[in-house]
């Protein structure tokens, strides 16, 4: 029993690559709709292959940091990236450290002042 257009179209994404289905080969000559569908898949796959040859725009300075990468003690750009990413964390930690130091200082000051008054 011949396959329906719905069944044929379900296997076209594979057929565009391997052309293994005899059912599809039999169906296509008599079906302009499915033939057009196959043409779209072919165009799509050809377009994807073409994309592979088109580089996208890289960030400015990337080539320089890559070229310098092996010739520095530590990968500077990586460190910069790490710092930039964790900036909010460093800020919060800094504030917490500042707060803790302030609280300790205030406690010490109060203690000394209490002793001075008692004396």
């Amino acid at each position: 029993m011949p396959m329906s257009c719905t069944e044929i179209r379900a296997i076209l994404p594979a057929y565009v690559e391997d052309k293994a289905s005899l059912d599809v080969r039999r169906h296509l000559p008599g079906c302009p709709g499915c033939s057009e569908e196959l043409a779209r898949y072919r165009g799509l796959v050809a377009g994807l292959e073409e994309l592979g040859g088109i580089p996208l725009e890289a960030p400015p300075g990337l080539a320089i940091s890559l070229a310098e990468l092996p010739f520095q003690g530590r990968p500077l750009a990586k460190i910069k990236t790490h710092v930039a990413r964790n900036r909010p964390g460093y800020f919060v930690s800094g504030l917490a450290a500042l707060g803790a130091t302030g609280a300790a200082g205030a406690a010490l000051w109060h203690r000394r002042r209490g002793r001075a008054i008692a004396a």
Binding site: Y41, L48, P55
Partner: protein
């Protein structure tokens, strides 16, 4: 169709000569500069297409070149240098893809100059196929769900075999095929807005 991958790798190979690779093995800084300059855009692009995050892609590109620098002395030239470079880049991008869930979606457009300079394909199959606008295709690719996008990028954009895709993603070959086919189907419905065929 898979022949175009060989053309791309050959053109890159011409830019990275065996002599350049040999000089890099000796620690020649000028040769390393030349190697980076000839290849970094392609490596960054591969990483960006897998990760869809500019910062992640730049980091994966750095991971790639660090590994290449550390491993180049052991590179014996059994395969083309660029084949090895692509493999290292693919692994670096996939490692970051697996390990980092913090990702922001970005809209990426192909370089207009590159699109203008693109020669018309003369393959029979492409001639028999419907012409696709590459800028539209790049945008559609970026908006695919991650598991479909990575599979179709490796298979159709970079011409890796189904076995290689399966190995890289840690899935069976059958699962890799299914992902690629579903990705093509989704892409087709995005690229052709009048498309009426049912989606999976």
């Amino acid at each position: 169709m898979r022949g175009q991958k060989k053309v791309r790798e050959r053109s890159l190979t011409e830019l990275v000569s065996a002599e350049t690779v040999e000089r890099c093995k000796q620690g020649d800084r000028a040769a390393w500069d030349a190697l980076v300059e000839a290849t970094y855009r392609e490596v960054y692009t591969l990483c960006l297409r897998v990760l869809r995050d500019e910062q992640e892609a730049a980091d994966a590109t750095q991971d790639t070149y660090l590994k290449v620098w550390r491993g180049i002395k052991g590179f014996r030239g059994d395969a083309a240098f660029t084949t090895w470079l692509y493999r290292v880049a693919m692994n670096a991008a996939l490692t970051r893809n697996r390990g980092n869930s913090r990702r922001r979606a970005i809209e990426v457009a192909a370089e207009p100059e590159a699109l203008v300079a693109l020669p018309a394909s003369d393959s029979t199959e492409a001639a028999a196929g419907a012409r696709v606008e590459l800028g539209v295709l790049e945008t559609a690719l970026a908006s695919l769900p991650e598991h479909y996008r990575v599979a179709v990028v490796l298979r159709d954009v970079y011409g890796r075999s189904t076995a290689e895709v399966a190995e890289a993603l840690g899935i069976s070959e059958t699962a890799a095929k299914v992902r690629v086919h579903r990705a093509r189907k989704k892409l087709k419905s995005m690229v052709y807005p009048d498309d009426s065929s049912p989606e999976e």
